[in-house]
Structure formats: structure tokens, C-alpha cells
Amino acid sequence: MDRPLATAPSRYRRVPPGTHPPEDPAYRSTVLRHPLQPLVEIPQTLSEITGPSYPYDAIGPISDDLTRQHAGTPLGERIIVEGRVLDDRGQPVPRTLVEIWQANACGRYAHEVDTHDAPLDPNFTGTGRTITDEEGRYRFVTIKPGHYPWGNHYNAWRPAHIHFSVLGPGVLTRLVTQMYFPGDPLFPLDPIFNSVRDPAVRERMVSSFDIGLTVPDWALGFRWDIVLRGREATPMLP
């Protein structure tokens, strides 16, 4: 083999237990979809420390203003969602892909599986894509998503949320999550939100209203930082 062994990358720190939610019978669809066998612990290798990393290959065009993707203006409350992608030591994660998808102002997704009796908006698709800048910053302009019912249990409604997909620098930083809005009355009732058991950890998924980010006479601003796994300070030993 022609591979030099001199330069060893450093490992990612482990994720503290209680960060990512386990299977949760309260969210019924998890019951048959989460593995029952214990995960097999393996060492990190080059295969996990590397990973898809924008902009090597164009995944799609940048589209960070969801209110300007059609001929007309979508209905609903225009908002700005801005924040940074950081590692767990607060270091920025630059040049990484951030994608979002969400319901429209009425709580309806532009997806054929969504049969909620609420109107579609011909001027709103609900998907966006951007790349973080050198300081790890991202920014979207969108419409505040509505609440919507789902079939998990009697009278089940989701808190308003925006789905976020972040690649990060390696396979181990891949994160798909949901950003919530402060003070949503549905928080105590939602099994997906509460699948994260520790209230302090759960709070990391809730954005904050930011008057500084709010543009006068135009749109409210919500700030939300996304924190990914970070690296050990020292390289892996062979």
C-alpha cells in the first residue's frame, strides 16, 4: 500500500449520553424502526472522519430566501432565521451545507403525502439551501410555519418547526434535526420534541427571538445556533 501513516487525524469526541433521543414508544412510528440489538462499538477510521463536504460536488443551487422562489409572495408571517454552525468547543464550522424544509403558514407541506385539510400556497415550496460562511454563519428568509395535526395519537399537533439538515465536515457530524420557536404551547404535548428527555438539552432545539436581527417594518428575526460534534485535540495514535 502507498498510504503514509505519518499524519493521523484526530478523533471526534464522543456524544454525551442523553443528547440524541433513543427510541420512544410515545412516538409510535419508532417502535418497529429502531434497532433492538445493541450498537456495536467500533473505532473511528478515516472513513468516518472524512465525509461529504460541500462544495466538492454541487448538491443544488443556493436558495436561502424561501419567499422569492415563485412569481408571487407567499402568505404568512415573513421571518429571518439566522445562526451559526459550531462545534462543541464553539469553533465555527465554515463552508458546510445547511438545508431546510418546512410547512407553509397554514401548516401544510408541499408534499403529496401531506393530506392535512389546509391550503397549499402556490408561492411557497418550503425548501432552502445555503452554505455557512467563514464564521459558520447561515441565514434564511422564510415564512413562519404553521402548526399541523398528525396521526400519532388523539388530537396530536406538532409544535411549529423547521427541519434542518447539516452535513458538517465528516460522517460523524451529520445531523438532521428540527428548530422550534420560543414559547410554543404544544411543547409539553409533543412526543418528538420530548424524545429528548433532559429539558436543558431539549432547549437547544428552541430558537430565540432576536430584536437585533429583526428588520424594522419587514420581518421578525429568530436566532438559532447548531452545535455539532467536535474533535479531540490530539491525533489518533496508530
Binding site: 456524544v15 440489538q37 450498537l39
Partner: protein
């Protein structure tokens, strides 16, 4: 230290995000290596297919190089190969990746790993992404792979893509129950 943001499910509607991407193309005519197709189905604990999952892959090029700054050999990686694959499972729970057979990459112990592809599974009803690997059942190097060696022998077969024809492999992902795929804590 800041707290890591928890994972949440992709839910049933991530298709609108995937549709907004370009088509997933990993190889072009110029890409070096043996063309392969990996096909399979994603199955739930009751044997039913999972038609609303996002299956993602990451792999080295034909010479075992990753186009990534952490690979010291990245400058020699095939610029025409995209190591990132993604698929939204269809109504039959099916996914399909048209790619190349990956080369061998370094192992942490100084040896080399058998050819493999990293797989991430996300779906409605899955709160946290699950990671596994695809190995190839016709690959002699499997016998010396340090990761496969960590897997209980009676479950290793769940990580092997079965050769089903010339350049074709079959690999099912079973989330639960009999033949449950091995998932990793990395």
C-alpha cells in the same frame, strides 16, 4: 464546551428537500474503477418496507482515497468521483446506488480496511441517524478487516452485499428483528 444539538426525525416530508437537490450522480464516464450497482430494501421490524427513509452513503474512490482534507492522499483522489450518495426509498422501500467499487483505506492500527461503504439511515420513526457499513461478499480482504472483526460472527453477514450478477450487489437494511442489520456506535 457548548452542548451538541440533539437529533430529530427527518419526518415524512423530507422528500421536498431531496427534490430540491440536483440528481445524485456519483460517477461520470471519466471516473476510474469498476462500476457497480447496489440495490436493496429497507425493512421495519414487522417485515414491512420503509418507504420514507433517507439512505446516505460515503465511500472512497477506486484507489481508496477520500476527496476530503483529512485524507493525506486526497490530492490524488479521483476528481470525477463523488463519494456522497443519497436515496429517498421508494414505495417498495427500495434504494439504488450506481457507484464504483471502493478501494482499500487505512485502518487505525496501521493495516488496511476491506473495501466498504459507510451508510447512514434516517426515516420517519427514526429519531437519531443510524450508521452501518456495506462490505462485499466476494472480497477476500474481509477476513482481515478490523471493523468486521468487532462484529459478532453470527451477525457479520448482515453487513455483506451479496453479488447478484455482473457488477450488481444486493444489500438489504433490516432495522429490527430477524437478520437485524448491525449498526455502529462510532
Amino acid at each position: 464546551m457548548s452542548g451538541i444539538t440533539p437529533s430529530q426525525t427527518v419526518g415524512p416530508y423530507f422528500g421536498i428537500m431531496v427534490r430540491g437537490r440536483s440528481e445524485c450522480r456519483q460517477v461520470s464516464d471519466a471516473t476510474a474503477g469498476t462500476r457497480i450497482v447496489i440495490e436493496g430494501q429497507l425493512l421495519a421490524g414487522d417485515g414491512n418496507v420503509i418507504p420514507d427513509a433517507l439512505v446516505e452513503t460515503w465511500q472512497a474512490d477506486a484507489r481508496g482515497r477520500y476527496r476530503h482534507p483529512e485524507d493525506s492522499l486526497a490530492s490524488g483522489a479521483d476528481p470525477t468521483f463523488n463519494g456522497y450518495g443519497w436515496a429517498h426509498t421508494q414505495g417498495d422501500g427500495g434504494f439504488r446506488f450506481e457507484t464504483i467499487k471502493p478501494g482499500r483505506v487505512a485502518a487505525p492500527d496501521g493495516g488496511t480496511q476491506a473495501p466498504h461503504i459507510i451508510v447512514s439511515v434516517m426515516a420517519r420513526g427514526i429519531l437519531t441517524r443510524f450508521i452501518t457499513r456495506i462490505y462485499f461478499d466476494d472480497e477476500p480482504a474481509n477476513a482481515e478487516d478490523p471493523i468486521l472483526a468487532r462484529v459478532p460472527e453470527d451477525r457479520r453477514h448482515t453487513l455483506l452485499a451479496r453479488r447478484s450478477g455482473d457488477g450488481r450487489y444486493l444489500f438489504n437494511l433490516v432495522m429490527q428483528g430477524a437478520g437485524e442489520t448491525v449498526f455502529f456506535d462510532v
